[in-house]
């Protein structure tokens, strides 16, 4: 159900939740969870089912249980908007998590740093290490391979008999890998791959290579 790939002699495992495990460093990369989105909507009178809240945490636990990483790095948009009661659930989740947690801040991350610091979560605008660059917005920089999120990539597939499918995906360019949105209540954006790109589509509980 997972797919293992090699980039610059490092091994990465793509998980159907949308997480990427960096085996050599025992780091789990997760992007665009958008926690608090459901409650943000409810607070403004839009009755999105409340039970969707717990799904994000279940998914994070599933990915963490599977890889048991030393570090979890969120590639931005961890929280959708201002602080609301989902923060308390997050606090609880953090306290029950043994991995070290780091946030590379994204455009939605408007919650004050000090709240994260209280939970011993480190915040960076980007992380550059071992020839890899971790950012929220996709970026091309010389000598680096970039992991990012922000776009919520998805792909359209076509076949004979006029068949077609739309699936969220990991989108890999020669020097870049864009992660799908991890969050439950988030949308997608269709990207069109060129011949140099590779797409890893998420088909329910399976990651499937398309390139």
């Amino acid at each position: 159900m997972t797919v293992t790939i090699s980039i610059q002699n490092h091994t990465f495992i793509l998980h159907p939740t949308g997480a990427v495990f960096w085996t050599n460093k025992s780091i789990l990369l997760i992007s665009d969870v958008h926690l608090g989105k459901v409650m943000h909507f409810r607070k403004h009178g839009v009755a999105v089912p409340e039970s969707a809240v717990s799904k994000n945490f279940d998914q994070m636990n599933a990915a963490l249980d599977y890889f048991d990483p030393e570090t979890v790095i969120f590639l931005g948009d961890l929280f959708h908007s201002k602080k609301n009661t989902e923060w308390q659930l997050f606090e609880k989740w953090v306290s029950e998590t043994t991995s070290k947690i780091i946030l590379v801040a994204g455009n939605h991350d408007v919650i004050d740093k000090k709240h994260y610091q209280k939970l011993e979560i480190e915040i960076y605008s980007e992380i550059a290490t071992n020839g890899f660059l971790l950012t929220h917005h996709p970026e091309e920089r010389d000598h680096f391979f970039n992991f990012s999120g922000h776009i919520h990539p998805a792909v359209k597939m076509r076949g004979i008999g006029r068949q077609s499918l739309k699936l969220p995906c990991f989108f890999k360019k020669p020097k870049q890998m864009i992660l799908p949105a991890f969050g439950e209540f988030t949308g997608t954006y269709f990207l069109i791959p060129t011949e140099h790109d590779c797409v890893y589509a998420i088909a329910n509980d399976e990651v499937i290579v398309v390139c």
């Binding site: 989105k37 459901v38 409650m39 943000h40 909507f41 409810r42 607070k43 403004h44 009178g45 839009v46 009755a47 999105v48 089912p49 409340e50 039970s51 969707a52 809240v53 799904k55 959708h80 908007s81 609301n84 009661t85 989902e86 308390q88 659930l89 939605h108 792909v155 359209k156 597939m157 076509r158 076949g159 004979i160 008999g161 006029r162 068949q163 077609s164 499918l165 699936l167 439950e184 209540f185 988030t186 949308g187 069109i192 791959p193 060129t194 011949e195 790109d197 797409v199 589509a201 088909a203 329910n204 399976e206 499937i208 398309v210 390139c211």
Partner: protein, 822 residues
């Protein structure tokens, strides 16, 4: 003053105008003055406006003998029109009556176009006679102390009721009326409707099931006979007639010839994009029409539309290319000819359009039918018969529209708040909610106060508060503001305003279209070539494009209509005569196509059900021809594909039109086993349909409107940038969360119910399966596509259905870049 005296006043007025009153007008006056409610069945241009304005004013005169000297302030009557554009005409008619009869009454309009200053003035002092739209009426119910505004109102007239019936705006109207009955006890309720199949029911929906108002009501028919002449445009050479639906532009010369011969011609197209193309091509090919031609459709800005309407009246235009936006409303006396491009899909619509011409007394209406592809000529032939026999469709009213109820209750909560017990009885008395249970009602109350379930302590849901005395009220100013902005967004698609950089509003465009364009790209809109500069704050900023630049034509979603049951029946009967000697001119003209069809396959007779299979580069095609109309075919295709997929893992792409449907697959369909296994059986239809993936896709689309109406998707206010940061979300996303976490949500379920009742037309589906059961199945294995199949297999808008796993399907596919490499 007694009735004779009152009638004398009215008769004198008619005489002074040089008119004579019709019997139906007098009948209406009498009923109105007797205090009756009712429905007046009268076509456009029959004098229906005066049938009701007159008694409204007479009633005032009767109750205020000193009417000429003293003025009693306050709202006395409301006139509801579904189209804002019509309000000016209605106001002029009212003012004419009021002024000439010397009643000191004021007339005002309140609609989306009314300025804030004017609104504020009205709120302080309502005009005596108010012309408004269903949405603006809801907004009045959302203002504080609304009951005082309406308490002395003595009449409400709902014009073009047939247009509202069968829509959610109609439901909105039912709810508003249920409230007004309580707060304005002396109010008479009158509807005006064109001819539809279910007029009795239309009256019942208007007045409420078995209500007091209904008991004291009357149905009046204008009985104005109007002769309609239908002419098909048949070209000299039929060989060149395209097999599939183009825009009908191959007949542009024939159309131009008709335009030349008439004072004014209206060219009706079914969709706005066709309207744009026809305008463009006509102008290119016949530049001499420039200055005397115009375009009119729902997305063009109001000023332009009003100008066009005025210019038609003043005989300044030779030809107007338009859509259903000109179906309704005022008379255009100079219009002599109508051209209908493509099948109108329904008899009522066709007749209404025909009626736009030949308004002078005794003149007959002439409508030319321009078939865009060969098969449509059969439609033309069938329509002629339908018009001759006046076969008109029903408008099916909505039931249990929870989305509209949610919106309405929020509206009441925004103004003065409401007590559920009082409102329950009012709502329950409407046609739409006659079957609502206490459970349903409690669910709705729970939804607006707690966001349906709220089990967790950390929940922050906020919308309607329950005050200690049991009053349901919205107290948050922000939420109240959001809600007021949402009222009236019953029409779903996200639209953006198109504006020149230098200023100047051009019209509106759907978001999906503009999202495919980059700044610098050019598109043609409203007959102008425009270059996209920037999209900002729900506005599309454009400048004039370089004329040599390649541009795209704007298109709009929706507008795909289906044959009504009546129309399908007429079409089948017409089709069956193709095998006889008794041919209409249209069928005769189709001889070359029939010959070709018979070479590969057959033209089915009434006892036959035709299935064709053949293979092309695209895969294996199987075409079925029930001739039941698009919506029924959608359901049948879905049902059959699902049943076949149970026999073997297979993936289909589905296409349909009004004549038949196609199942396309990458593997050959075992047609013999389809026939042997009796897959057209009527057993388990409902559960099979529900299980076919397609129903989910359709429900998902239905849900879009539901989510907007119920306030789950915040669309903002057109043209105004309201801060809705982080509150943007698509209805798709909400649909999925409901599916996964709250499948018993009534709004979610409503999407399915609407799919089955209004989209798939389950009732008709079963009837057609019964019919197929008694027909002989004729399976033709053709070598290549037949003329009948051609319009279907070339349709790009398709549904999918598969019983293969995702992984299996992906293995057979390539990501879409393969297409781009070519």
């Amino acid at each position: 003053m007694n009735r004779t005296q009152l009638f004398n006043i009215a008769d004198n007025w008619f005489k002074n105008q040089g008119w004579k009153s019709f019997p139906f007008q007098k009948e209406t006056w009498t009923a109105f003055l007797q205090g009756k409610n009712g429905l007046l069945n009268a076509p456009t241009g029959s004098g229906k406006t005066y049938a009701l304005w007159i008694p409204i004013v007479l009633d005032y005169i009767k109750n205020n003998p000193d009417y000429e000297t003293k003025h009693k302030p306050g709202l006395k009557a409301i006139w509801i029109t579904p189209l804002r554009a019509l309000s000016v005409e209605i106001k002029q008619a009212a003012e004419r009556v009021v002024n000439d009869l010397g009643a000191q009454m004021t007339v005002g309009i309140r609609s989306g176009d009314t300025s804030n200053a004017e609104r504020a003035k009205q709120s302080r002092k309502m005009p005596d006679l108010l012309i408004t739209t269903p949405e603006s009426l809801q907004l009045l119910l959302a203002s504080k102390g609304y009951d005082k505004t309406f308490e002395d109102c003595r009449a409400i007239v709902i014009d073009e009721w047939h247009e509202l019936l069968g829509t959610k705006r109609g439901v909105q109207m039912e709810l508003a009326l249920s409230r007004l009955k309580t707060i304005a006890p002396n109010m008479r309720i009158w509807g005006i409707s064109a001819t539809i199949g279910n007029l009795q029911q239309a009256k019942e929906v208007l007045l409420g099931m078995g209500s007091e108002a209904y008991e004291n009501s009357i149905l009046i028919h204008a009985n104005i006979d109007k002769k309609i002449k239908v002419l098909s445009i048949i070209p000299e050479k039929m060989e060149a007639y395209p097999w599939r639906g183009h825009m009908g532009l191959h007949l542009i010369d024939e159309a131009a010839a008709i335009v030349r011969k008439s004072k004014t011609t209206l060219i009706f197209t079914n969709v706005r994009s066709a309207c744009e193309i026809w305008f463009q091509r006509l102008l290119e090919k016949y530049p001499e029409f420039a200055g005397e031609m115009a375009m009119h459709h729902g997305s063009i800005n109001r000023e332009t539309r009003l100008w066009v309407e005025e210019a038609i009246r003043n005989e300044e235009l030779k030809v107007v290319v338009c859509t259903s936006s000109l179906d309704l409303g005022v008379d255009f006396a100079p219009v002599e000819s109508i051209i209908q491009v493509g099948g109108p899909k329904g008899v009522a619509r066709f007749m209404q359009r025909a009626g736009r011409s030949g308004h002078q007394p005794g003149k007959e209406s002439v409508i030319h039918f321009l078939a865009t592809h060969a098969m449509e000529l059969i439609e033309a032939s069938a329509l002629k018969k339908a018009v001759a026999e006046t076969v008109v469709e029903d408008r099916i009213p909505y039931l249990n529209s929870w989305d509209v109820l949610v919106q309405y209750l929020n509206t009441l909560a925004v103004s003065d708040g409401f007590f559920p017990d009082e409102i329950f009885n009012e709502v329950k008395g409407t046609f739409c909610y006659q079957a609502m249970t206490e459970d349903n009602w409690n669910w709705i109350l729970n939804f607006i106060t707690k966001g349906s379930q709220s089990l967790q302590a950390y929940d922050e849901y906020k919308k309607v508060d329950i005050e200690p005395n049991g009053l349901f009220k919205i107290n948050s100013r922000l939420i109240a503001m959001h809600h007021r902005m949402q009222i009236g967004t019953i029409v779903g698609d996200a639209t953006l305003q198109v504006k020149f950089l230098s200023g100047g509003y051009l019209g509106s465009i759907e978001e999906w279209f503009i999202s495919k364009m980059k700044p610098g790209d050019a598109f043609t809109f409203g007959g102008k070539k425009l270059e996209l500069y920037q999209v900002k704050n729900m506005q599309v900023l454009v400048k004039k494009a370089d004329p040599s630049k390649k541009s795209r034509l704007v298109s709009w979603m929706g507008g795909r209509m289906s044959f009504s049951a009546q129309m399908s029946e007429m079409l089948r009967q017409e089709m069956y005569t193709a095998n006889t000697e008794n041919l209409t001119p249209e069928l005769k003209a189709l001889a070359p196509m029939f010959k070709r069809q018979r070479k590969e396959s057959i033209v089915p007779g009434s006892h036959q059900f035709l299935i064709e299979t053949f293979k092309t580069r695209e895969g294996f095609h199987a075409i079925f021809y029930p001739f039941e109309g698009r919506f029924v075919h959608e359901a049948l295709a879905s049902l059959l594909a699902f049943r076949i997929s149970l026999l073997t893992p297979i993936s289909f792409s589905l296409a349909y039109n009004d004549y038949g449907f196609e199942l396309l697959s990458d593997q050959e369909i075992d047609m013999q086993s389809v026939i042997d296994n009796n897959l057209f059986s009527t057993e388990y239809v409902h559960s099979d349909l529900q299980r076919s993936l397609n129903a989910t896709e359709m429900a998902r689309r239905k849900f879009r409107d539901i989510a907007v109406i119920a306030g789950l998707v915040f669309t903002g206010f057109p043209g105004k940038m309201i801060k809705t940061k982080h509150l943007q979300s698509g209805s798709q996303l909400i649909f999925e969360v409901f599916r996964d976490y709250e499948p018993d949500n009534l709004l979610f379920q409503q999407a399915y119910r609407e799919t089955f009742e209004h989209q798939l037309e389950e009732g008709r589906l079963i009837q057609s399966l019964e019919r197929i059961k008694n027909q002989e199945i004729v399976w033709k294995q053709a070598q290549k596509p037949t003329p009948f199949s051609f319009p279907i297999i070339t349709d790009r808008l398709r549904e999918k259905l598969s019983s293969e796993t995702l992984a299996e399907r992906i293995k057979k596919m390539t990501a879409s870049y393969m297409k781009n490499e070519k």
